[in-house]
């Protein structure tokens, strides 16, 4: 502090010099407003800073001198020679007041200087000045002398432009919240339709009750900066804390609406206990009426007691929770394994309970990390809006099933691929207005996004009604690129697959939007990385449709533990329709591997043979019927072990390059089981 004071003293002596030289100049040119202004400013600074560093006497005297010069500054009067010499004398006096620990002598000098100055002021201005310059127009409120608790009603309706000067109204609400117990309601009544919203404007109003021991002045002070840019009313409701008495609050609001006078609620004497029982029914009735009116009031003012039904949680915490749950599941299957080996009934009972709880825990954890797909769509809408403007195509986005929920990690990873697909559709898919009119299509293009849950998968379809894919063109490109021989005939489906090849593009020109189709390979691999699949269907001049299928969650699934030879595998339960036990005889390979089950011909794949090291064929085999697209397909295996709830771990670097297995899980015994991706398996072997 010392150094600041020393610096200040040096500054003040400079101020004195400046004042003296200015006063001498003013003597020559008494009407020079610039000089008067300068004198006024120096005094002003001295006054303010003097108070800061504890030179109160200096500050007080300069305050009065400043008031004197205000008279000349406002051109009410003209400086005369008496003023010049008076002020110069006062400055000499002030120099003696620049002391840190004033003595009585100093104080006497100060009061003399002040009274002399006031006399000078009186000489020029008959109306005594001090206290004349008004206070800020604050809202009048009732007396607030007592320090005990009181409840106030505050309405704070900021001007729309309040944000422009850097005001954040929320801080003021925070400040109030720190002063006492609050019941805060936010009103969005002034919110215009979305299209008219100006992000630089404030459309929110706040209505609140506060129970505090602070004075009304303190409450007013909260709003001191916004007093001119907001409608603020502060009204006392009660001389006690009634913030939890909804009936009182509601009655108050009712009175407000009907513009009736409000009588303060005073802290009454405690009701005697024995009377309570007798009066209770009656009281309840009154409370009932009041509560009813509170509901009616709420319709008008948006004021209701809200209960918290959702909280925000850091997504990192959810991830950690999910991780723990998946570890828990692994530990639990180990417990099951041990329990079934020990054959201890008590242990088995506990294990079973444990398993049930574990499943609930898993479902719960799972549910927590699901968020509606809607959040993704907002990004796409924005993209479509911005891009369609810039390339002069009118595109409408149609969505369906946006309430479908997906793991938030998947949604995050899905944003880029989806943006890419939509960007491609906008750029290459949907034709220009003229082209569309020539084809007699609606000049406005449509991109539709549909989401739905199918089993434990979510299916997202992104379709544009543009020009579709040109199969011939794709074929030519593929031949030119040396991907197929010129003689080879390919089906449309096979042609579409080329779209997903790295560096494959059919577009003639490079566009700034989506390049040359580069990236569809990236889209596919990121979808696959989430254990999902992507398909493409198209019809020339009609549509192009991408179908993305994704698992609900990335980490935990229900599966069927099976064995083939000595190895264990897992088939995700979601793809399984039925399981049959059949004689291996029936599975002897004929021309086409088809097995008749329940009178239906079913194509099948004998994994016992395909997975090589199978050894001796058992007499009986299981056929697991799985969904394959819209069809059923049989997988013949050796043994069904049991249903299994598991935490999937991604495969390491070693088995990459294969795509039959989408992951692995560690069994209770410590053994590894690979998770079969049935779609890939069937594609590859059939």
């Amino acid at each position: 502090m010392k150094s600041f004071v020393d610096k200040f003293k040096v500054e003040v002596s400079e101020y004195f010099e400046r004042l003296e030289s200015n006063l001498l100049q003013l003597e020559q040119d008494p009407e020079n407003l610039q000089i008067i202004g300068e004198i006024f400013r120096v005094m002003h600074t001295m006054k303010g800073s003097g108070g800061m560093f504890g030179f109160d006497l200096l500050s007080e005297v300069t305050h009065d001198l400043e008031s004197l010069f205000e008279i000349f500054r406002s051109k009410e009067q003209i400086v005369d020679s008496e003023i010049i010499s008076f002020t110069l004398n006062s400055i000499d006096g002030l120099k003696n007041l620049l002391v840190e620990n004033p003595t009585d002598e100093n104080r006497f000098l100060a009061s003399k200087l002040k009274s002399d100055t006031l006399q000078q002021i009186a000489r020029f201005s008959p109306i005594h000045l001090s206290g004349e310059i008004g206070k800020l127009p604050l809202i009048k409120a009732e007396n607030s002398s007592e320090a005990s608790q009181a409840t106030y009603y505050i309405s704070f309706v900021p001007d729309e432009n309040i944000l422009i000067n850097g005001t954040n109204p929320l801080y003021l609400i925070d400040e109030l919240n720190a002063l006492g117990e609050c019941n805060i309601q936010v009103s969005f009544d002034r919110l215009p339709p979305l299209a008219e919203i100006d992000p630089f404007k404030c459309y929110t109003s706040w209505y609140l009750f506060i129970s505090t021991s602070e004075s009304v002045e303190t409450l007013q002070d909260v709003f001191i900066f916004v007093a001119n840019s907001a409608l603020i009313t502060i009204q006392k409701v009660a001389n006690e804390n009634v913030i939890h008495q909804e009936a009182v609050l509601a009655a108050f609001l009712n009175a407000q609406i009907n513009q009736e006078p409000w009588t303060l609620v005073e802290p009454g004497p405690q009701k005697p206990e024995e009377n309570f029982e007798i009066t209770q029914p009656e009281e309840k009735e009154i409370a009932g009426v009041l509560l009813k009116s509170s509901i009616e009031v709420s319709k008008n003012t948006g004021f209701t007691q809200t209960t918290v039904d959702s909280i925000r949680v850091d997504s990192g915490k959810i991830d950690l929770y999910m991780n723990l749950v998946s570890e828990f599941i692994t530990a639990q299957s180990r417990l099951e394994q041990i329990s079934s080996n020990l054959k201890n009934p008590e242990l088995e009972l506990v294990t079973e309970t444990f398993g049930k709880l574990n499943r609930q825990l898993r479902d719960n954890a799972f549910d927590m990390s699901l968020i509606p797909i809607e959040s993704l769509i907002v990004r796409l809408k924005r993209l479509i809006h911005d891009l369609s403007k810039s390339i002069d195509k009118e595109v409408v986005l149609v969505t369906e099933g946006m309430e479908t929920e997906l793991d938030k990690n998947i949604i995050e990873k899905l944003i880029e691929p989806m943006l890419h697909i939509v960007r491609n559709s906008l750029d290459h898919g949907i034709e220009s207005k003229n082209e569309r009119q020539a084809k007699q299509k609606d000049p406005n293009g449509t991109i539709s996004i549909k989401a739905s849950t199918i089993g434990s998968y979510v299916q997202i379809e992104i379709e544009d009604d543009g020009k579709g894919l040109n199969v011939n063109q794709i074929r030519e490109k593929a031949i030119a690129g040396g991907l197929i021989s010129s003689q080879k005939k390919i089906t449309d489906e096979e042609a579409y697959q080329f779209i997903f090849m790295p560096g494959f593009s059919t577009s003639e020109s490079v566009s700034g939007l989506s390049g040359r189709g580069i990236g569809m390979d990236v889209v596919r691999s990121s979808v696959q990385a989430m254990r999902g699949s992507i398909e493409l269907v198209s019809e020339k001049d009609k549509f192009t449709r991408f179908i993305i299928k994704l698992p609900l969650s990335l980490s935990i699934i229900d599966g069927l533990l099976i064995s083939i030879g000595d190895s264990s595998y897992i088939i995700p339960s979601a793809v399984i329709s039925k399981i049959y036990l059949v004689q291996s005889e029936l599975l002897k390979k004929e021309l086409y591997p088809v097995v008749e089950l329940d009178g239906l011909q079913l194509p099948y794949l004998n994994l016992h043979e395909e997975f090589g090291d199978a050894g001796e064929t058992p007499e009986e085999q299981f056929v697991v019927v799985v969904f394959y697209g819209n069809h059923f397909f049989g997988l013949a295996i050796d043994e069904v072990i049991r249903e299994y709830q598991m935490a999937i771990k991604p495969l390491g670097r070693m088995p990459q390059g294969q795509d039959l297995f989408s992951g692995a899980s560690i069994l209770g015994s410590g053994q590894l089981a690979l998770v079969i991706d049935t779609n890939k398996l069937i594609q590859k072997y059939s």
Binding site: S3, F4, V5, K7, F8, E11, R41, H44, T45, K47, G48, S49, G50, G51, M52, F53, S59, I133, G134, L136, L163, I164, N165, G166, T167, N168, Y171, L172, D174, E175, F200, V222, I224, F225, N228
Partner: protein, 121 residues
């Protein structure tokens, strides 16, 4: 990231005591000795609050605020003006040019920080 506050005041002692109090409270502080020097700091860097005196050489507070508010990045930055009581007219002028609020001299650290909390967190 600590919040960055720019102090503009022609009085060295005021600059220093403000800087001292604010740095102690965990803020990062920039100082300018007049309006023109202060204006030079608004070059796109992140400034969370401008705390400016009203009477300064070169550019006064009123002019500084008006100029700062014209720079895109600082349209919504809170600005507090240092003032003394009875300056209603000055406060009105400062608000019209774009100040968020004011800080009355004399003030102590507690009052300073309390006022700051009205406009930045």
């Amino acid at each position: 990231m600590p919040k960055q506050i720019l102090i503009a005041d022609d009085s060295e002692s005021i600059r220093e005591i403000l800087a001292f109090s604010l740095e102690n409270a965990g803020y990062q502080v920039l100082v300018a000795k007049d309006g023109l020097e202060a204006l030079g700091f608004f070059d796109g860097r992140s400034i969370d609050l401008l705390l400016t005196d009203y009477h300064m050489p070169n550019l006064n507070g009123h002019e500084l605020i008006a100029k700062v508010r014209q720079i895109e990045n600082y349209k919504f930055m809170p600005i507090l003006v240092l003032t003394t009581e009875k300056q209603v007219e000055m406060i009105r002028e400062a608000r019209d040019s774009g100040a968020t609020g004011w800080l009355m001299k004399p003030f102590n650290t507690e009052k300073l920080l309390q006022t700051l909390r009205k406009v930045i967190r």
